[in-house]
Symmetry: D3
Subunit: 291 residues, 6 copies
């Protein structure tokens, strides 16, 4: 995919953002030698990338993947975490006894909130995000994947909700989102409590991903094709659908219907409706104004 | 199914309501030449049908299907929509620039609310509703199916959450309900964002339907058999179960247990409990009083 | 499994509690001649067992099974219910006309609440609970299984949400929890409304259980092995994961992230994090302090 | 107030609807000889009146009062209730032992829901409603007053949440709304549990009403003056403010801000904003288009 | 009040429970020499007292006061707290560095939950509770008072939400309940953040209490008179009103109306309704059956 | 107050931030010639000021006031708004017909969200904020004041929820927060629907403010004195109290108690508790570590 042109205005250190098709952005996590693991600088950039994509009228669909053959992401960059931020002393086992636990907790809350907020930017991004997983996809990789709209993976993907194995409950979103995006709670608890690996086939069977392809290249190609399809549709319709499905997941039916009504009371005033309806008569694909 | 007697008191223009078995009502959407598409007059009637069924002590289970071979329903009757209601001007692409967007929004809110309320009557109907899908089942057909309790389909069913293709986010309930009635959110977003067709087998695999049969006739026969089974059980038990499952979907566990407790504090005072318990001893099927 | 030592301090009439491995408790419902059915004395004990397990620092994982070959549990002990508690008169069909329905309702609310609270203790138990189902597993057996974290079953399991067949809507938790722990609402309503039997394979296909084994012995062996695995991990991490997954099921995403942040602001101050992180370097399994 | 012209299109048996000023509707409960008590026919009409007002672009503010000198309303027409509807047998103390309590409960739920829905129409009416209380204002009068936006009363008003004295918990809305519209819960419980009378001065002190006037005529004059003021303002602004305040009462802050944002994303596209802003420069009152 | 007979079956060490009138219970916190401060044994008993009252059909209204002239309650018994429970080491400033903060947190959560649950029993008690405050009424006294239905106080009451002054945020309920039982949030935050004393008059002005009397004796007399009034009314009506008002405080309007409807569908089947309605005709006070 | 030293590190164009006492920050809106009205640059800075204060361990209490004698703030700077942002065209009445209403709505949503987020930073600031109002305090001034913890005002304050008079429903927070921070909903709706002025005395009577002083200087002095008092207390206790009261306002009681328990399970591990408890014995004011 290296041949796609860079998307103008997206200059990042840890992410490569290209434009493989009109209105489609492809974001690559670009730390292949570190298995695309995340240090603090990486997640701060991650948040900025998705805020920019959310606001960019030239983008209507986003594909996220990891650079290199080995990993979508190995999750938290534990080496970096042991040297920066509030976990640094703790990970070496030394701690700082001069600070009491309540004060340490305040620092940790601020740290977790910043981290959560950066990753949540992908969920808040108003454009649909298709996540392409392959190889090592553990820990934070799951938190990130849970924020995507559609998940696809290569058959060699090695998934794990790995945090229990480093003495932690996952706190960047997996435990908040997974029970609502996969049907079988028995399975969700199995993998979250045991931190065991699970395969692409297992992920497909439980509905975590909706497509499995032979290898990374084919998965990415399928994702870009889907991204292209979504980008050709009315952005008012697509973005509204993402918003209302996310709202529906978190609210009761009556609440969702009420919000839907208010949302669509202006969305259906878009010119996209007549454009879309007329296009079969005109025998050409509809085009839609910027959004 | 034409041989079943009409259910007394149900005289509608667009729906045929018959009584294929004691306490079972069969509702057919009866616009086969328009592929059972819905104009405003149709959804207003739809609401009235289900309100009447909800109140009718002679009805304990409902089966909904579409007349004709080609479609359960093709969804919104776009031709009618382009000539009536607040969408009329808009669909032709002309709009009414003399009215400002806020005033148009008020009109649209009223329109959407009326439409939502009519379709939601099927969910609110206190009797269980089994929806039989076949052939074309797109757009509004999905909003309707999501309000049913149990969904079955023929192997030829062509499903689609079609609204994105006419420039809209679906607003009559699919986006509010689908995330809670199917386990895989990745799949839900795939079909809702792309508006692509999906098959009976795919619907079964993700749990949208719980049975697929060879053709419409066999599906309908299975649905009527299930309706008959449900109608022979205690209506207090069956209707309470529907109410509590719908409540459970929309509320946290503690809230649901509290509501359940209050609900059953009177429901178990029904004579149905001793009737049901004694029937094995008496070696005959229990009968239950009207409800 | 009879060879495992009794867990000290757990003396119960209807339950056998043993310690098959370090930090693992095995709870057996021990009324095999009554098919492990529950009378009031049984559910009161059930609540006490799980409260004790929740507080016991020597326990980090729990396996629940039913004694004997024939049943995990046949549910409510209807014979006992007809002789004790507020249902007694009612089940015989006589009722007590000297008490008005509102007063009876108060008595029933108290009865249902006590019953719900006892069964919910298993869900509230801070340690993960693996439920092993086999043979007859109907009615209350489902309410109980829904409170477990992970469900496994033998291939001969006969499941049913049986309450409708005794004239009742299930009120001890199945209807509140099942819509959130299984993906397909169409299937959930099918089995709850019809009270029909369903098999181990069907339970696996819809995600109610996450493993099916050939017979009870193999299922129990698998559950104990999983219990052993969980018990070797950081109890701070495992118990936090259970808490946050249960919270996530019942709350919207933003609420869950907020609660997660506050929870982990102290949990990550445990010594478990450095212990877990250092163990690969030290090439030995980490050990964790009591919790 | 008899001199105000009837509002065209409002022909009701129990309500008199007039137009005392442009865009102001005055609704009088018109059963003075029965102290404006409500039988079923009255509350069914009440719901219809407010639905019509909600949809009527000629109405921008509503004043509700009771005809005659003695009562705003004496609440439920107990005599009628003893002869109609599901309470009829019960009120005479005879009951119908041939129907079991669960079946009676279903009938009662339907009855209460219909009653609640009719009264709630005033709260749902999109135009602000000012309620003028005087004389006897007990029982259902309180349920109704709680649905108004602004409450004013004459100094002779005799308030009471009277239901406890007829053996009932109020179920048409007082207990749901009063804890949120008056600040002192200790006072709310005092008057609701004891069913005691309270005065206009007490209602003012606790904030139930925001104005007390010497007599009914002066209160009504003040209400009509306020109605006239509200009716001269932008209807988009006024009706949006009502909607958002009601939403704010029932939702957390983040939820409310989100809904507000979506609501105003179209409301501020009204022409009312430039009209209102320019009017001081043009030195004349702004006028606003129909809504 | 010493002359009232003890209420049979209420034998407690720290509480004196008497029956000053039919169906009225008077609970006195009986540690006057310790200013009615609460050690763990006291709050465990407090919970038991109110559970017993809630279930006791001979009790229809409860008055709570503190023994002695000086204090309703001085709150937490800090001396006892420094010697028992998880706070013991901490209060002396020593702490236990051998236990990590996460493990200490688990112990504290269990401690706080037990403490909260005991105090919340008063709110959950199905009978209305009138709280009589006088003299010192600080810290835990406020948590307790917030659980009552109606608050009255003597003019010498010295209130304070005192916890900030011992380095704590109040955690037994004041901060959860006070924002919903008093109208002015500015005032609530003033007293909670500053821990300052406030007077009976200030408590009345903001609506925390609904009556102030000259001294403790007169306040208690007024409370007992109100208790007597409530106890003469239909217990179905009074207890339902308490339940529905508490529900209304914590839920949105639509939710409350739905719960109300289900609750009253059986409550109005009580014989209390005809008894209450007929009593004016029979010219004698209605009597009501046990509940 | 000009004599207080600038607080180091707070360099802003529109705000003056000083340190009148240890751990107290005084923020002045510093556009007196524009009556402290807010243009976009001002609210962006406002958000940054309060984020910085929230994170600053040298700050434990904040006082907010407006520079100059005439106004706390005149609200939105309408002149600036007519030249910048999405309202610019609209305010001049011209609009941009080349953009459809749905696309304009997206721009407006982004604009409102940014604006809301900036103002909400004051509510999210972990330190208590005391708001000093005087003179003109209308429109956005109310949105801001509603985010403060404690409100005080000078006797000459002229309050108004002014938005209706410019054709808008207030959307920066007043309508979301006011119903929960003032007891009388009748009064809230009166002032929000009518946009009328109200006085300091009226604000005190309804509980919007908790103190009124003779003039701005005296109000500010009282606020700074209160700020000093709060700053001398345990910051763990004070900040926890703010957090839990805000949580309590937006959640039901059970939810709040649960969150409180988790919060305090680490907060009470602060050294502040023994420091605070020992200080009376040591006869000196406790000091608390940085937070």
């Amino acid at each position: 995919m290296a041949s796609a042109a860079p998307l103008p205005g997206y200059v990042y250190e840890h992410f490569l953002v290209t434009a493989p098709a009109p209105f489609v952005a492809h974001v690559e996590i670009n730390r292949p030698r570190r298995l695309n693991a995340f240090a603090r600088a990486v997640w701060l950039e991650f948040g900025r990338v998705f805020r920019q994509l959310s606001d960019d009228a030239e983008v209507r669909a986003v594909v996220l993947s990891g650079a290199g053959d080995r990993a979508f992401s190995a999750g938290l960059d534990v080496q970096a975490a042991s040297q920066e931020g509030p976990l640094s002393g703790r990970l070496s086992g030394q701690g700082d006894v001069s600070v009491d636990p309540a004060r340490t907790a305040k620092e940790l809350r601020a740290h977790i909130e910043e981290f959560q907020d950066c990753i949540s930017e992908m969920e808040k991004c108003e454009k649909p995000v298709i996540c392409v997983l392959h190889g090592v996809s553990i820990g934070l990789a799951m938190d990130i994947a849970c924020c995507a709209d559609i998940r696809m993976c290569a058959s060699n993907t090695r998934f794990a909700v790995k945090e229990v194995d480093i003495g932690l409950a996952a706190d960047i979103g997996t435990l908040a989102r997974l029970p609502k995006i996969v049907g079988s709670t028995s399975w969700v608890k199995d993998v979250c409590l045991s931190a065991r690996d699970f395969s692409a086939q297992e992920a497909l069977a439980v509905g975590l991903v909706s497509q499995v392809h032979e290898d990374k290249a084919r998965t990415l190609a399928a994702a870009l094709a889907m991204g292209k399809t979504l980008a050709e549709k009315s952005p008012v319709a697509v973005q509204g659908t993402k918003e209302l499905l996310n709202y529906g997941r978190d609210h009761g039916t009556q609440e969702s219907l009420r919000y839907t009504k208010v949302w669509n009371s202006v969305a259906v005033q878009a010119r996209d409706v007549p454009s879309a309806l007329m296009s079969p008569l005109r025998k050409k694909k509809p085009t839609f104004e910027k959004l």
